[in-house]
């Protein structure tokens, strides 16, 4: 709620305007029965057509004012709610862009997406309904009650009692209904999760004849959802009709109290009954709004969670801006992923000189990717220090580091847009010749030119229309175009066939020059041309040196060599 108020406050002027017109509109509605009672009590009772026409004209005027107010209010309210929705999305998107990968891991990407899309829409609709009805309903309610009391003071206690009962029922509904709708939301998420999982694993499901199991899982999830929904809807079924009944009783009591009225005041009685129905309508509007409110509250909490998330890493207050040459020093570095407690890296002490090509090899899960991810500060060390050109990375301007480091991740991620647009991520200002050069080194130029539109070929979401190997090559070209000081290649040639991979590595070898290159691979032959090779296992350094040195001293490395090349010597 605080969140919504905060955003409303930003548009306080428009909001007040809107409230003003809304009030006018409500008053216009409220005045109608009063003047109607004048028509009855003064016009009809005195048989004066002129009086009737006179009050009729006034009613017409009021209706006109009401109409203008309504149009104005609608204008303001629509603008405000949409603008708030836009701002919420913008702020969340901005926030997410600032968060570190650690935060994203915790919040989970899928959940963030629904928060920015669905949850914001919920809040936006709620804000709109606040400005449309939520304010009008109490005004109508209170206004009607006040007018009834003014016209027939005798009825005051009845009206107050009824209002109290309605308030109580509304409160009870919130109290009991709120948690139930929370459950519905959770079960819905679960159902979505099961469906998503099935769709992305459909090959495995079929290959293992596991259709029954998936059906069972889906069935349970949808049954759970249905029962949560029934429970929530039943709460509604209990409360909503009770509110109607209460107000209707009010009318009966009102009539009973007025049973001895003289004919002269019959107009007032009619007005009172009319007001009562207006109260009923307003109350039921409030009831409806509360339903939206319950959902909007849940949504705004989820939004707030994202906005409250503190970036795990922050830009240093007074960032250093050293000239980055590519000298990297790990001083006693340890690292554990948040929430695991298990160290992914332990006491790493290595020094990589600028311009060196370092091969990184080690068994699955030995911490290779974790190690290189520390350099561009995707994650921060848990213990120890990581120095880049003698400055602690946490002290350097994060933008500076990232513009000097290019990463080619294991899983190539491309974005909607043309191939050219994607490659230009590496360098906004690159001209066609530069783009083509980078693509050639990555062995991508030829297949790009074979496509119908060449470099202008549009890629779908995440580049779905390319093969894995092609995507890897584009991802590599994108990094090369950056001409970085430090190039990190995270097993990025795994989907290439041997020949293409060899060609890519050759091209890289020729262009790397003064670049510091960190080359992660599973394969000995990929890393052995490196100046030095870092061999990792279980997050610890097993050996760091040239191929020959490691062959002489590092057991892990020997075992890897054995598995790839040694055995082959045995065969041949």
């Amino acid at each position: 709620m605080k969140l919504i108020l905060h955003y409303l406050y930003r548009h306080i002027a428009v909001f007040l305007f809107s409230t003003f017109f809304l009030t006018m509109e409500a008053i216009a509605d409220l005045l109608q029965p009063t003047f109607m009672s004048f028509i009855v009590d003064k016009g009809v009772a005195n048989a004066s057509i002129n009086t009737i026409l006179f009050y009729g004209a006034i009613m017409l005027g009021i209706a006109g004012i009401g109409a203008i107010s309504a149009v104005m209010r609608n204008n303001f309210a629509s603008r405000t709610s949409q603008t708030i929705g836009k701002e919420l999305r913008k702020d969340m998107y901005h926030k997410v862009q600032q968060l570190s990968l650690e935060n994203i891991d915790r919040l989970q990407p899928a959940s963030i997406i629904t928060r920015i899309t669905n949850d914001v829409t919920q809040v936006q609709e709620f804000v709109n309904s606040i400005m449309r009805m939520m304010i009008k309903a109490p005004i109508t309610c209170i206004g009607a009650i006040v007018l009834i009391i003014l016209q027939t003071p005798k009825q005051a206690p009845v009206i107050i009692a009824i209002t109290a009962v309605v308030a109580l029922l509304t409160f009870g509904n919130i109290k009991i209904g709120y948690p139930k709708f929370g459950t519905v939301q959770k079960r819905l998420d679960r159902l979505n999760g099961v469906a998503r999982e099935f769709l992305s694993s459909v090959r495995v499901v079929k290959a293992f004849n596991a259709e029954d199991r998936e059906t069972q899982k889906f069935d349970t999830a949808s049954l759970d959802l249905a029962s949560a929904n029934v429970a929530a809807l039943r709460v509604m079924a209990c409360f909503a009709p009770l509110v109607n009944l209460t107000v209707n009783f009010g009318i009966v009591i009102l009539l009973w109290i007025s049973r001895n009225h003289e004919a002269a005041h019959i107009g007032k009685l009619m007005a009172s009954i009319n007001y009562m129905t207006q109260v009923l309508f307003a109350v039921s509007m409030i009831f409806n709004i509360i339903n939206t409110a319950v959902r909007a509250m849940a949504s705004s909490e989820r939004i707030q969670e994202v906005l409250n998330e503190k970036p795990a890493q922050v830009q240093p207050a007074d960032p250093l801006a050293p000239e980055i040459r590519g000298d990297i020093r790990f001083e006693n570095v340890s690292f554990a992923y948040a929430g695991t407690g298990k160290a992914a890296l332990q006491n790493i002490n290595i020094h990589i000189r600028a311009g060196e090509t370092i091969g990184i090899i080690g068994p699955t899960g030995s911490g290779k990717t974790t190690l290189v991810n520390l350099i561009p500060r995707f994650y921060d060390v848990t213990e120890g220090r990581l120095l880049l050109d003698s400055c602690d990375v946490t002290q350097i301007d994060i933008k500076l580091i990232r513009s000097a480091v290019a990463v080619v991740p294991q899983k190539p991620l491309l974005f909607s847009g043309s191939i050219r647009d994607n490659l230009r991520w590496g360098n906004e200002t690159a001209d066609d010749a530069e783009i083509r050069e980078a693509a050639s080194i990555a062995c991508a130029d030829s297949f790009i030119r074979e496509t119908e539109h060449g470099y202008d070929t549009q890629l779908g979401q995440a580049g779905v229309n390319l093969s894995g190997g092609q995507k890897q090559r584009l991802s590599l070209a994108r990094a090369l175009l950056r001409k970085p000081r430090i190039l990190i290649l995270d097993d990025c040639t795994s989907a290439l066939d041997a020949q293409t991979e060899a060609a890519v590595l050759n091209g890289l070898h020729n262009m790397c020059g003064e670049m510091t290159v960190l080359l992660i691979s599973q394969r000995i032959y990929t890393v052995r041309r490196a100046d030095r090779i870092l061999c990792l296992a279980d997050g610890m350094v097993q050996g760091f040196g040239s191929h020959e040195e490691l062959m002489a001293s590092c057991k892990t490395y020997q075992a890897i060599y054995e598995s790839q090349i040694g055995s082959e010597d045995n065969v041949s």
């Binding site: 216009a28 009401g66 309504a70 990407p109 694993s201 209707n248 339903n291 699955t364």
Partner: protein, 607 residues
């Protein structure tokens, strides 16, 4: 006068596709409804009670203003009103009971139907062939399973009851009004006509605007999805600001369109209110004049009319609205039926063979295949693989290696030619039996958000713990599993995303090991596993594959060197086949590829 404009549906807690949505016109309304009716047969017990309640519910709306008017008349003429007030009270209590029962029943019946439709849909989906899933976006399928199904049931059941209530209310009120005063009824009807015209003008405008809004929203959602799943790369390339700029642009565009749509649609309610007020005013003035002129003798009639006029116009508005929602829901139902009409995986032939312990002879006779008619992927593949052969398939990316696997497991069926297993066409076997024959480790390491244990025994739920541990040990997954917080009971909350690619592969290999199938298929199964582990896995596989037919697809040629038969595929055609030594002797493409992988280290050894 009770329950004005507060149809029970509004209180259902589930938003109806209200003003913010596009009205999608169904293609065949009647047919779809009939089908829906047939589909939910037996699942909607009690629906008739709800409909009956809906009809009864309108009674209160019709009668209460009349009775109230009577009371006013009696008060004005000084009669005792105790009796008639009791009637009114009874009417209200009856109304309460009806509303309560109606909502209470709708809650369970509606959800029951939703559950049933959803189940039917999923039961269908799971039988569909892979081609269906490859062709469609997952997001779209998801929204059919969730949103569309919800909409169908909620909207259609609510619309039905509302239409019924409103229909009765309108008719009832009209009759009472005509009886009371035809003249005043005419005035009320004028209001209705005005509202009709207004609604038509506004909706013709908003329809286009909402369509534009929907489109803008789609673009925005696409951008969000992409940029959040690709955040790693955005950060690596410092593209945060550009992305935000792009986002702002799309976001502003959406805001602009949506505001316009909202403003236009927002005019509807207040303007309707104005017409309502005008009607009210007209009735007040006219009835006043008529009373003065003696055309009406009863003040109660004025009271009743003033109450009726407020209630009379509203259902008309609602009906227009409901009808739009109804159409949208029916269109949703059509989308669901579209899936139900999809061709499932071909049923087993009536005399299909069951398959228990196949020898594993495989023969491909002039197999042609294309995922779409325009593009052939496999061209005239003919192969003879005797039982027990260890086959390796190599070739550049996109040459058709995985496609062969897709055909063997009958994820897809051949376009032309045939594949025989033990002398019978694959299509002559029972599909389930056939799939049990293959133990596959696929390129995509699909894991489920269950425990490690359940992931390993996936498809073989009754495996013992010993078997599971043994399978994990063979696959070389036991090491990292032992390091997980709860070992085999660790739940992979994020569907395995918390593991490394290599660890995921090991789990999927363990899964295939446990299946212990007669024919093994490994499609790039060890590409992300380190070579030491890979070596171990290969030993284990060799051990298991002894006397079994097996297929391995791999980039690392060292992995497949000792296969019995190596098949080189390029552009969907077999270009070379033979053992490693034969192919090396042939000195063709394979030899070249092999040397590239090995030659490099030779060069280094020399230098």
């Amino acid at each position: 006068m009770s329950v004005k404009g507060v149809p029970p549906a509004n209180l259902s807690g589930i938003s109806r596709p209200g003003r913010g949505s596009v009205v999608v016109k169904p293609k065949n309304m009647k047919g779809t409804l009939v089908r829906l009716w047939m589909l939910t047969k037996g699942k909607r017990n009690g629906l008739w009670i709800i409909l009956l309640l809906a009809a009864l519910g309108s009674g209160s709306a019709i009668l209460s203003p009349y009775i109230t008017g009577k009371v006013v008349t009696m008060i004005s003429s000084g009669n005792a009103i105790a009796g008639i007030l009791l009637c009114l009270t009874a009417l209200y209590i009856g109304d309460w009971l009806i509303k309560f029962l109606q909502q209470f029943l709708i809650a369970s019946i509606g959800q029951n139907v939703i559950y049933y439709i959803r189940k039917t849909l999923f039961d269908k989906v799971i039988t569909l062939p892979l081609a269906f899933f490859d062709r469609r976006q997952h997001g779209e399928l998801m929204s059919r399973l969730t949103n569309d199904v919800d909409n169908i049931s909620i909207t259609i059941s609510n619309s039905l009851t509302l239409l019924l209530t409103h229909g009765f209310t309108i008719t009832g009120i009209l009759i009472v009004m005509i009886c009371l005063s035809p003249m005043l009824t005419l005035i009320s009807l004028t209001g209705v006509v005005l509202i009709f015209l207004l609604t038509k003008t506004v909706t013709s405008r908003t329809r286009k605007l909402f369509a534009a809004q929907q489109k803008a929203l789609g673009v925005l959602n696409g951008h969000i999805e992409e940029s959040i799943s690709g955040l790693f790369v955005i950060k690596a390339f410092c593209r945060e600001e550009q992305m935000e700029r792009e986002f702002d642009e799309i976001n502003s565009e959406l805001c602009k369109v949506a505001t316009k749509a909202l403003i236009w649609s927002g005019y509807l309610m207040p303007l309707m209110n104005v017409i309502n007020n005008l009607c009210y005013l007209a009735i007040a003035v006219c009835s006043g004049i008529m009373f003065v002129n003696g055309l009406i003798t009863d003040l109660g009639i004025i009271t009743s009319f003033l109450l009726y006029v407020r209630q009379f116009t509203r259902p008309f508005v609602e009906i227009a609205n409901i009808y739009n929602n109804f159409q949208t829901a029916v269109a949703g139902a059509e989308r669901v039926f579209e899936i139900l009409d999809e061709q499932p995986e071909p049923e087993d032939k009536p005399n299909a063979h069951s398959l228990q312990n196949p020898r594993g002879d495989i023969e491909m006779n002039h197999v042609w295949f294309g995922y779409s008619p325009e593009k052939t992927v496999l061209k005239d593949i003919t192969l003879k693989i005797p039982a027990g052969t260890r086959v390796a398939i190599v070739g550049p990316t996109g040459s058709g290696k995985t496609t062969i696997i897709n055909l063997l497991t009958r994820f897809y069926d051949v376009t032309d030619g045939s594949i025989m297993l033990d002398g019978h066409d694959l299509r002559d076997y029972k599909l389930r039996d056939l799939r049990d024959v293959f133990g596959v480790v696929l390129q995509d390491t699909a894991l489920f958000a269950d425990s490690v244990k359940e992931n390993i025994c996936y498809g073989h739920e009754n495996a013992s713990m010993e078997q599971i541990i043994e399978a994990a040990r063979i696959a070389g997954a036991d090491g990292f599993i032992a390091r997980l917080p709860k070992e085999y009971d660790t739940v992979l909350e994020q569907g395995g995303m918390e593991l490394s690619q290599g660890e995921r592969q090991l789990l999927t290999i363990a899964r295939a090991m446990l299946a212990n199938a007669p024919i093994m298929i490994l499609d790039e199964a060890t590409s992300s596993v380190d070579t030491v582990t890979e070596q171990k896995i290969r030993q284990a596989i060799l051990h298991i594959c002894k006397n079994r037919t097996s297929f391995i697809i791999a980039h690392r040629l060292s992995t497949i060197r000792d296969s019995d038969l190596i098949i080189m595929i390029e552009n969907g055609e077999i270009t070379e086949q033979g053992t490693h030594d034969e192919l090396m002797a042939l000195n063709g493409k394979y030899a070249l590829m092999y040397r590239t992988q090995i030659g490099q280290h030779d060069a280094r050894m020399v230098s």
